[in-house]
Symmetry: none
Subunit: 205 residues, 4 copies
DNA sequence: CAGTAATCGAGACGGTACGTCGTGTCTTATA
DNA sequence: TATAAGACACGACGTACCGTCTCGATTACTG
């Protein structure tokens, strides 16, 4: 725990430009929003970032890995403070998901990344750790708080709840391409909490 | 006057080969399963189908449109007969979804199609009518039967239920790439029906 | 010598349309003039002639053979009546060549046909009999008349003279793409006849 | 300041491979000889040269431009030293033309290039400067020497003489596809010089 | 005057080459 | 050693023509 954990810092030759990284990731997000996944080209990202292709390839092996890192910056901001009750925690989490899934960058990237990852285990691992897990954290922590409050109890499967929350919203927003309004969210959370509440009576799921 | 209003009967020139269509769609599904979406090439589909590239392009403008039609044949087979109760109807529907989502063709194609459709309204319409709607029918019809049986009542939002069912499974199987077992399905249907049952008490969602 | 020498005239079934032949050859010449050799397509010839591709292919095996026949109609009109002297016969023949070589059809077709014929003996034979020989006849007949008049005598090589006349004009008009004016023609015929006249003195070539 | 005014010295990025140029042009000549003009494909040239198609297209816009440059290397070698008299200069020049026109590369390319150039002014300019002019130089220089020797005099039209020499040989060898033997050449040069000699008597052409 | 057979327009078909685009690697000179 | 610039090998793309084929519909001779 000395801080610079990895700290290889082999400082022979010219050091890598930190500005380049920032510019490349920003350009990637901008072009994802403008052009979508299929029409996003490495060459154009480099050009937009004011960087040579070489510089980009020295950092990321290809388009998918680049986009994972670009999107990771957005997903790492997900955070839900304690809202006092499971209901309000749920509403807050769902709200954050919706905001994120409605960004054009996300629309362009998330399903495409998942599709690419189907055949590529190393990519799948990156998507998992940088995109999926940050989302799961919200559900996990809210559930912990609900347990602590005594709102739920018993053996539970947080992953099922996570799939139900994110899956429903992904299906609605990304797969079907339809917007979500307040009414939809209210009903969704209502059915969801009703289901979870029932569990308490029947002794856990 | 039975409904085949179109009556094309365009008898000018050599008619299109029905065998070609069949062979192309079969080759597409086979190669999707073998190679995945990204490594699926039009040229190889044509070669596998024993057909010239031109013949394929005369029917479909590109990879995505071809794959929609190829997958449509699988999704059109979705069907759930009356199982006697909402619980059994739900289990049957979920079972069909799971079987379909676990096919390698589906793993390769579904998310990729949804991703491509993001920027292409005409593709989105095709995906909607040939892939999404056939899935929705199962939920819709099961819900109608449940209403007829008196298991549920009141104004409802079938689309929300549909998003919850398919979204959850898509998230689990396709996005996270994890398998579903009996225990997962049991818990899932249990939470779901608990949520829906609660609605009856509270007078609809 | 029964007249209809070949006379296969197997008259079973619908006879071929004579109008089609005419229309196809005319369309070929028109499109040669408009588009040149490389951009002349069989499909467009057929369309312009108001005829199906099948109809065209039933008569000619390919572009080159079609164009030979189309051009043959122009070259078959070459004719030089007796002008009374070798000088005037030569001027008349050269004038006819120049007129023909300056037609856009000829510019488009003649060199291309000769180039195609390089690898195709059967095409070469057709070009020879339908394009080259009709040109050669002018020189041959004029030379015969000159002999009869006593303007020349001795063993001669009409083919050399033919090469010199047509070759010079082809090089000027088709290969270099430069126009010929009166002055050029006068000097050309002057040098040519001077050379031939010299032969008489030296006893034939 | 020796004349290399252009001084490109564009030292940005990886320089173009000189080996690629050489290999492409050599492959072009080889395949011209093997396959002829019509069956020469860019893809095969690239493959034979061990080069990607892109590399070829970066240098030449199409088949015709490539072939002009490939042939230019052959035509640039034309050279006739002073043979002491117009007769011997003429024989030497004609011999060089004949050797060049009888190469299979030339048979395949020259007429095809001239035909293509018919519709393409920029191609015509290239053919002119890289194929026609190098041939013309032989006639021009021989004529200059003949003037210096006093063998000819007066205003002359070198281009007419050039057309007569090259045109005759092109017509014989390329258009009619017939070989030239010693007898033909002797008669040809004899008639030609007789014609030119006559000019001296009559005071120029 | 019905039968028969080759033609016709139309357009789908298998095939080949095209010229372009994107990828990820490389080779320069410069920093 | 990293960088900008750009050439490079590779492979897929979607298009264009080719020459063949399969249709239904004509159009003449033939029996």
């Amino acid at each position: 725990m000395d801080g610079t954990a990895a700290a290889p810092a082999r400082t022979r030759g010219r050091p890598r430009s930190a500005r380049a990284d920032t510019a490349i990731l920003a350009a990637t997000r901008a072009l994802l929003a403008e052009r979508g996944w299929a029409d996003l080209t490495i060459a154009e990202v480099a050009a937009r970032a004011g960087v040579a292709k070489t510089t980009l390839y020295r950092r990321w092996p290809g388009k998918a890995d680049l986009v994972v890192d670009a999107m990771a910056e957005l997903f790492s901001r997900l955070e839900v403070a304690d809202r006092g009750s499971m209901l309000h925690d749920a509403l807050a989490a769902v709200g954050q998901y919706v905001d994120l899934l409605q960004l054009p960058e996300t629309q362009a990237a998330l399903l495409a990344l998942a599709a690419e990852a189907d055949r590529d285990p190393s990519l799948r691992a990156k998507v998992r750790s940088q995109v999926i897990d940050p989302q799961r954290r919200l559900v996990y922590e809210a559930w912990e708080r609900a347990c602590a409050r005594g709102e739920v109890e018993g053996e539970t499967d947080v992953d099922l709840i996570f799939d139900m929350i994110c899956g429903t919203l992904v299906h609605r927003i990304l797969i079907k391409g339809e917007p979500v309004d307040e009414a939809y969210l209210t009903r969704f959370v209502s059915v969801l909490l009703a289901g979870l509440a029932q569990l308490r009576m029947s002794g856990g799921i």
